[in-house]
Structures are given as C-alpha cells and as structure tokens.
C-alpha cells in the first residue's frame, strides 16, 4: 500500500532497505548462530547517516521525528530483529538526554550519537524491577561534586557495546516515584562494569548483559534534568520509543510473509504448488491482512506521537501490542506454511519466530501495555462523562 | 546513426517490439528513433520492408589491408614455462594460417627462457620472435605492450591472438589502442571468412547469456584474446622446423613507468579444477555442507577434482576456487559429473565443452539434462552412494 511518503522519507526507506538486503540478510543467520554483535553493519548504518535520523539538526542529526526512525526500523526489522534492536537501543538510550537533558549535555553527547561514533543504552530493568519499576534498588548519592552509584542493572541491550548509558537510580527512597533520577554514565567511568553475556532464545546477535555499579563516581552535571524527574523521563522515553518496537514487528511479519509466499509458490505437493491450496491461501491472506493493518496502525501512531508530545501513551501502547502480537502469530504461521523445513535452522523463519517473542516482552510487556491503554481509556471517559 | 526511410516504413511496430532499449516508437504510423538507440542493429534485421539501416563507416584505405598477412600469437611465459594457453593459441593459429596459406608466428617475451621457443615451434609456430631480457622478468603492461606493438608494426600480421589471461587481458588493449585497431576480448570461437579474410570472432556477452560474433572490417591487424582451455592444442612434433629470431628491442622500449617489486604465488587450492581430467560438481541439490561431502566421496572414487555451482559456493559449502561457470572457472575435462545442479546457463557456459557430461538430478525437466551425455533422474542421495559403491567394485 502507498502511504504517500515524502521524497525524503522515501530516501530513508530506500537506504535502509538496501542495508537490510545487501548487508544484513546475507549474514543474519551466521551472526545469530555465533551470537555475535553486528559491529560492521552498525558502522554501515552510521555511514549512511541513519543514527542521526531522530536527532535535531543543531546536534548533528537529520531532525526527523519518531516516524522517520520507524521507517528505517521497519526495514532493519525485516532484515534481522537483533541488529535492529541494537540500532533502536541507541535511540532509547539517547531519548532521556534529548527529552530532559540540559543544553550542555545535549551538545556534549548527541553529535557523537548522531554520527554513530558512540552508541547509547538505556538502563532501567533490575532483578526485582521489571514491569514494576518501583522495585529499583540502584541508588545514587551526592558526595560533594560527584554522584556515587551502587547497584546492578539486568538485561541491558547494548551493554558493553555502548559508550553512553542512561541509568535510572533512586536518589530519595522516601519520595516513592518522585525519588528516582536519571544519570548519564560513560563506559570509562570508575566503578562501572558489565557482566557476562546472557544466553537468549532469540535476537542473539544483540548484546545483553548486566551493568554493575560499584561506588561508581560520576560528575554532578551528569544528572539528566532535575532530581526526582527520573520516572517522568522514563515514561516519556518509552512512549516515544515504543512505535520503534512495534514497527520491528511489522518488518519481521513482512519478512515472514515474504518467506512463506515464496516457499508456497515453489513447494510442490500432490502435483501442485501448495499456494494453489485454499488452506494455504487463507493462511497467507490472513498474514498479509494482519501485517498491513499493523503497519497502518504503527505509521498512524508514530505520526500522532510526533505531533502530540503530551498525548503519546495510548497510541504508543496500542501499536506496540497490536504489531508485536501480530508478529508472533505471523512468524508462527510462516513456520507452519514451511512445515518441516520451517522448523529447520536452514530456513530463516525459525529464527524469525524466536526473535518475535521478545517483541511482546521488552520495552514493557504487552500485558502492561494493555494496563496503560485501560487506564488511559478510564481517564478519557472520565473527562467526557 | 539509425536511418528510417519514412517512405518505406509501414508503421507495423515490429522494430518497437524488438528494441531492447526502448529506443524506437511508432508515432503517427512511422517509426521514430530516440536518443536511447545504441545502434545494436536488432531492428534493422527485424524490419520486413527494409526501412531501417545503420549508416556505417565509409570503407577507407582498403588497399592497406592487403599489406597485412600472417597469423601471430603472443606466447605467455611465466615462472619458467610457457603458459598452456599459448599452445592452444598455436592450435587455432595453425588452422587459420593453413587456411590462409600464411605463416604462423609467435612472440615470446620473458627472462632466462630455456627451450621455450623450440617448444613453440614443435607445437606449430613457423617463426618465433624471442626477446629474452631481465626487464621482462616481471610482467609490465608498458614493456610487453611496446615490444609487441613494435613487432606487429614491422611484421604486419593480419591476425594477432593472445590468451584471455590476466596478462593478455591487461596489456593487449594497450597494443590495440596504440595500433588504432579493433580488439575482441575473450573469444571462444574463431574462423576466417574465406572470401575476404575477415576474422569472425565469437564471444559470450551479458554474462554468457548471449553470444556475439564480431568483425574488425577496416583496420589491421585483427586482434583477439582467446579464453583459455577452449581451443584445442595440436599434438607437438619435436622434428618440426621453424625460425627462432632474437628480436632486439630499442632500449627506451624497455622502460616502464609502473614498477613491479615482486610476484607472490598463491596456493589456489590443492587441486586446480581447470587442470583435471575428471570433475565432480555439486549444486543446490546437496542441500547443505554435509550433503556436499557426498561430492568429495564421489570425486575420490573416480579420482577427480571437486567443482561446484555458484549456489553451492554462495552457501559456503565449498570455497570459490571450485566454482565452475560464468563467474567461476571454465573447464573442459574429459568427464564432468553434475550432481544436484539444475543447469542454469551461468553454470553451463563454464562446463559445456566437457567431453562427456553426466547429470544426476531429481527434476526430469532440469536444463542440465539438455547438455548431458548421460542423465539419471533420481534422488542423488540414493544414486550417488550406489554409484560410488559400483565404481569401487569395478576398480577392485
């Protein structure tokens, strides 16, 4: 379907598509098998200027919105969700600075993120703080001109690969949700280290480790925004980034559909290509409908978010839930269409199905998203009635 | 320029149909050519009313052409021996020379060459122009080009052939440009038209999907590089007599602006597949690297080298030096066994000149069977193990 992209937006799609086809797809199976981080491909993406898509021009970026990054992520997701996740996580790590950081902080960090010279990461999750962020144990205490961080973050994407980490820590436990703050930690800061690589079901080419803070001392001006604003920044960040996860589901679903249709045209059983059987046709038709519906929703939500910074949550959560649930279903169906071959690692749909699962879990589980949508509906209708 | 006779044109649109470049359109009942025209001539041949013509170059100085006579080959000498392609050139060169009743000469360039010129004579050369000079130890385009250019200017052969090797394809264009004559690269067939002595040079184009025959009608010599292992080497005759002439180039012709510091030989692989008499090749039908093992076993059983289609190489079941076909090597073994190779044209061009071709494929309609001497339709995982067993049995 034609979504009437502008010429510039079409350029972004073309470049990202070429990166997916020429650089990502030929190596994705190998990187997945070896659980290897795609350093070279991320360099290719940097060289193509795409790391700066969402960063304002005054900090060396392209000045695009959440919609432009969605266009690029769709293509990367079609290529490999692991690599796309590494790319998206850098944006997730940069958003807190862009949303709440001081001018000096933006000037200091954003040009290198925009050029891809440095990668960012976002550190919220801990062993006892997943969907319930109030369980955060990591603390930051002001000691003279320095903050001292202690604690451990878990399952942090780009850990060990990023140079800039946006970290959530408790600065005043007595204030509850108002007691959390965000800080920029650099990979070279004393007392900061990464744990061993996690072994994952899918997105194996992405880096996921613990971050360990042991009396990690950072300058006072690394506080992002004001003290106690941490959760607000986190929520805004996730609202802004979730369409990026949603669109990975669309790209992935599209890739699975492409594989399934191609295979169904080639595979002959009972003397005919299996695409001529209605049972297969209906599965493929449903997959196509769902992918397109999800795309329309994510594009719409991303455009809404780009122009309504104060009303992001519901659109953001809705598109994340719909598109990622779709990706799980469509990739599962693609494996089914390919039958035994689909279950084998030689064909790409097996990896796609493994990769799809994380989309329903990370950046807020789909259950939590439904909570958000429910609460938003409650608020909306309270106002109306 | 393409001329369209608007009086004759009936606006039938056949030329528009056949034009690959969308360069002709019928407008108001007459064909009109636009700037996309490449003068390929397809439309001229297709026009039933002969309304189209290509304005060709005026034939200039026809008389000069008669001054050029004889067939000359460039003999490549590397690492102490004459490259095999040179003997193949003598094979085809001999045929052309005999047909034209002219001498066959060879230009041999190198350093510290022993007996190489004599070998060229025994393989069919009537005259060998030899330059044995330390300046020729390494290949440089300029020095090799200078000397060949000078010998050609002095001897005026009508045809000059060289191997389409790295060396031939690199410096022969320099010589042709210097002599202001035409050059056809990578020929696979050569013949002289008896009525006018024009060399018909046939070569693959578009990655081997199309063959083209090319002439060099107005200038001499007619130059071609010839793909290695396509032409047949004649049997050597040690008693053959020929003149070996030590050619003395002028000192300034032995100067090169490019300096070669050293030559590094690299092991291609244990077996160079272009050398073997038997090649067993595998393709996509082997399914995976493990399946490809079967090809090595069959190759072991028959004492052959292992080849592969592009699909197998792209899947990294076997490294690139084993690839046969347009983007790989051209081979012509006595026996070529293709297992699980569909026979895409890109593959076939690289092996079709093999003496005997055996194809094993589960698809009875696979195009590989069109070139196969013997075909077996069946599951190669069943056929090949049995074949290995049977061959071992036979060999005892």
């Amino acid at each position: 379907m034609d979504y009437f992209l502008t010429e510039e937006q079409q350029m972004i799609v073309d470049i990202a598509r070429q990166i997916a086809d020429d650089k990502i797809i030929p190596v994705r199976a190998e990187l997945d098998e070896k659980e290897e981080f795609a350093t070279e491909i991320l360099n290719d993406i940097a060289q193509a200027d795409l790391f700066g898509l969402y960063i304002p021009e005054e900090y060396g970026g392209f000045g695009g919105s959440c919609f432009e990054i969605v266009l690029a992520l769709e293509q990367f997701g079609r290529g490999c969700v692991a690599i796309a996740t590494s790319f998206a996580a850098s944006a997730l790590g940069a958003y807190p600075v862009l949303l709440s950081g001081s001018e000096e902080m933006k000037q200091k960090y954003m040009p290198d993120v925009a050029s891809g010279k440095k990668k960012a990461a976002f550190a919220l999750t801990e062993a006892n703080a997943g969907s319930d962020a109030s369980g955060i144990q990591t603390t930051a205490v002001l000691d003279g001109d320095e903050w001292v961080l202690n604690g451990t973050k878990q399952w942090i994407t780009n850990a060990g690969k990023a140079q800039i980490y946006s970290v959530v820590a408790i600065t005043d436990r007595s204030k509850g949700a108002r007691g959390a703050s965000m800080f920029v930690v650099e990979d070279t800061d004393p007392g900061f280290s990464c744990g061993p690589k996690e072994k994952k079901m899918g997105i194996r080419a992405s880096a996921t480790c613990e971050l360990i803070f042991k009396n990690c001392r950072i300058p006072k001006d690394r506080l992002i925004g004001r003290e106690g604003m941490g959760f607000i920044t986190v929520m805004k960040t996730l609202d802004l980034s979730r369409p990026g996860i949603a669109i990975l589901g669309v790209g992935l679903g599209q890739a699975a559909l492409d594989e399934a249709v191609t295979y169904a045209k080639q595979r002959v059983q009972f003397g005919k290509p299996i695409i001529s059987f209605q049972a297969i046709q209906h599965m493929l038709a449903d997959m196509a409908i769902e992918v397109e519906a999800a795309r329309a929703l994510v594009y719409g939500a991303a455009k809404h978010i780009a122009s309504h910074p104060k009303d992001m949550s519901k659109a953001s959560s809705m598109c994340k839930v719909f598109a990622t649930d779709m990706a799980m279903k469509v990739t599962t169906d693609a494996v089914q269409v390919l039958g035994g071959y689909g279950y084998m690692r030689e064909y790409p749909v097996e990896k796609m199905m493994r990769d799809a699962k994380i989309l329903q879990i990370y950046e807020g589980t789909n259950q939590i998203q439904r909570n958000v949508i429910g609460q938003e509906l409650n608020k909306e209708y309270t106002k109306k009635i | 320029m393409l001329r369209i006779d608007i009086e004759t044109c009936i606006g039938c649109g056949v030329c528009e149909e056949v034009c690959t470049f969308e360069a002709i359109e019928v407008v108001d009942g007459v064909a009109v050519v636009n700037e996309k025209c490449t003068l390929c001539g397809s439309c001229v041949d297709s026009c039933e009313v002969e309304a189209l013509s290509i304005e060709a170059r005026e034939k200039a100085a026809q008389a000069d052409l008669a001054e050029w006579s004889g067939i000359m080959i460039f003999a490549e000498y590397r690492h102490g021996k004459v490259a095999p392609v040179s003997f193949e050139l003598l094979g085809i060169g001999r045929q052309l020379a005999d047909q034209q009743k002219v001498p066959l000469s060879a230009v041999l360039l190198g350093s510290a060459m022993d007996g190489a010129a004599e070998d060229l004579v025994s393989y069919g050369a009537d005259i060998v122009y030899k330059v044995d000079d330390p300046a020729l130890e390494f290949f440089t385009d300029e020095i090799y080009g200078n000397i060949l250019e000078d010998v050609i200017r002095e001897q005026k052969p009508e045809v000059v052939l060289a191997g389409a090797t790295a060396i031939g394809r690199s410096f022969i264009p320099l010589v042709a440009t210097a002599l202001a004559t035409g050059l056809t690269a990578d020929c696979t067939q050569l013949a002289i038209r008896p009525d006018d002595g024009v060399l018909l040079q046939t070569r693959p184009a578009f990655g081997g999907n199309i063959m083209a025959t090319i002439e060099c009608p107005h200038t001499r010599p007619q130059m071609a590089t010839v793909r290695p292992r396509v032409m047949k080497t004649a049997a050597p005759d040690p008693d053959r007599q020929g003149d070996i002439i030590d050619y003395q180039p002028q000192a300034e012709r032995l100067q090169s602006r490019v300096r070669v510091l050293r030559n590094v030989l690299q092991e291609q692989d244990q077996v160079n597949i272009t050398e073997g008499d038997i090649i067993v090749s595998g393709g996509r039908g082997l399914d995976n690297e493990k399946g490809f093992e079967l090809i090595r076993q069959l190759a072991d059983a028959v004492g052959g080298a292992v080849g592969a289609s592009r699909a197998a190489v792209d899947s990294a079941w076997i490294p690139y030096p084993h690839q046969v076909g347009q983007t790989g090597k051209t081979v012509n073994p006595k026996l070529y066994i293709a297992c699980g190779i569909s026979g895409a044209i890109q593959h076939v061009v690289g092996m079709q000149s093999s003496e005997t071709i055996v194809a094993i494929n589960k698809d009875p309609h696979a195009p590989i069977f069109d070139v196969a001497t013997y075909g077996i339709v069946g599951d190669l995982f069943e056929v090949v193990p049995k074949l290995i067993e049977k061959i071992k049995e036979k060999k005892g």
Binding site: - | L39, R257, T356
Partner: protein
C-alpha cells in the same frame, strides 16, 4: 588527490536473455544498474579521498538516462558528476569509447588518478581501462586488489594475477582498474542522497569535447557486432532408464574408459 571514476550503466546481465524464436533480447523486467565493478572503483576512490583529501568526479558515457547511475554515485560519496552524452556516440566499441572518454576527461580538467572497474558486465571486455590510459598517455595497473600505500607521488598496489599477485608501484597521474575483492562498497548515505538530488550534472556532448566525428560512435568503431545468438549446447539427451541400480550399472559401463 583528485580522482576520476568511470562508471557505466548496464542492463542487469543475469536477467538478459535472447528470445530463441526472434533472436532478439528480451527486455521484460531487465533493470538498468550501475556496473557492479564500478561500485568498487567508486568506493576505493571515496576511501582515498577520505584519507588524503581531494575530490571524486564520476564520469559516464551513455544515453541521458545514465544520469541515474551518476546521481547514485554522488549519493555514495562522489562530489561531481559528468555525463558524456550525444546521439553521435551511439554504437561505440571500446576503441571509440576510450577516445570519447579521453577527450571528455581532458576537457573536464586536471586529475591525479582515474579508477575504473575491471570490466562492465554487459560486454565483459576489460578493454576500456587500459585503452583509456593509452589515450591519455598515463601508466596503468589492471586488476588491482589492494592499495597498500601512497607516498604523495606514487601508489603502492597489489595486482591480481592468475597465479597469485604482484606488488607494484605506479606514479601519478595514473589509472587503475579494480577487482571486486578490493573493498566492500558502501550503501548511499542520507546526506549523499540529498546532495545527489540537488546536484546539477555537467553534460558534455560531442561538440563540447571537440570530438572528431569519424572517431566516435559507430563510425569511429573498429569492430562491429555482426550477429548475436543464444549459446548452443552440443549435449544430446541420453536419459538412462530402469531402477536406480540398473541406471548406475549402465552408467558405470558407459564411463568405463574414464574410470
């Protein structure tokens, strides 16, 4: 270092077929692309520019629509683009092509280095690079697989040979033709694409470059294509029959002399 890269727009060769009945090329679905070897030439030029400074100018001789590949080259890092186009250039063989390109390059101005792809995938001749060097009377090295150094006046290179490689030095100005293993071409960048969109191309026709009408296009060509046809195969279909065991038995008997 001011570098010129010669690029050609070609039909995607793997899609080109002759219609066996009409003996004409089937154009359905054949895409025009930048000659793949030229991508590597361009990439190497852009890398040299990034290391040593200077400019990269891409030059293409072809019909007006060759503008597409020139803009693509700009998106991938070239600074300037020159389209050498005239109906009078049509039908040029490599001899007429090197004449035309040589004239155009001289007209365009001084340069330090010319880089070409090893060959174009439509003709596969590999003649334009060496021929162009001769026209311009500059040294050249074919089949360059690696640039190992630059001392300000000369480039150190590795030249791929059939049995290994040569280590060579070439003084500038000079010309190189490159093989694919020299580098991995980049994809276009966003800034490059924006620049490519707005850049005005320089166009040169036969008159602009002062070409002798007898040396260009078909009249200037020394060779002529007189016939095109599909490759024919000599194989005769002799399908073996029977059970697998019987077929294997027959085959081994027939291959007797080879085994």
């Amino acid at each position: 270092m001011n570098i010129i890269v010669c690029i050609k727009q070609v039909p995607d060769a793997k899609d080109v077929r002759l219609d066996p009945k009409t003996n004409t090329m089937a154009r359905e679905g054949v895409e025009s692309i930048m000659n793949p070897f030229d991508r590597h030439a361009l990439e190497e030029a852009v890398r040299l520019k990034e290391q040593h400074g200077g400019t990269v100018t891409v030059v293409s001789m072809g019909p007006p629509q060759a503008e597409t590949v020139l803009r693509e080259a700009v998106a991938c890092g070239a600074d300037e683009a020159v389209l050498v186009s005239d109906r009078a250039f049509a039908g040029a063989d490599t001899w007429a092509t090197t004449y035309t390109l040589g004239k155009a390059i001289v007209k365009n101005g001084p340069f330090d280095l010319i880089i070409c792809g090893k060959q174009a995938i439509d003709g596969d001749t590999a003649q334009v690079g060496p021929g162009l060097a001769k026209r311009l009377n500059i040294p050249y090295v074919s089949y360059v697989r690696k640039i190992t150094g630059f001392d300000g006046g000369a480039l150190s290179l590795q030249r791929l040979m059939d049995d290994g490689y040569d280590e060579v030095e070439i003084p500038l100005p000079g010309l190189l033709t490159v093989v694919k293993e020299i580098n991995e071409p980049r994809v276009p960048s966003l800034k490059g694409k924006m620049k490519a969109k707005s850049l005005s191309l320089k166009t040169l026709n036969a008159e602009d470059i002062g070409a002798d009408p007898d040396s260009i296009g078909l009249p200037g060509s020394t060779t002529q294509v007189v016939k095109v046809f599909s490759p024919e195969f000599k194989g005769e279909r002799a399908m073996l029959e029977g059970t697998v065991d019987e077929q294997v038995e027959q085959l081994v008997n027939k291959l007797g002399t080879y085994l």
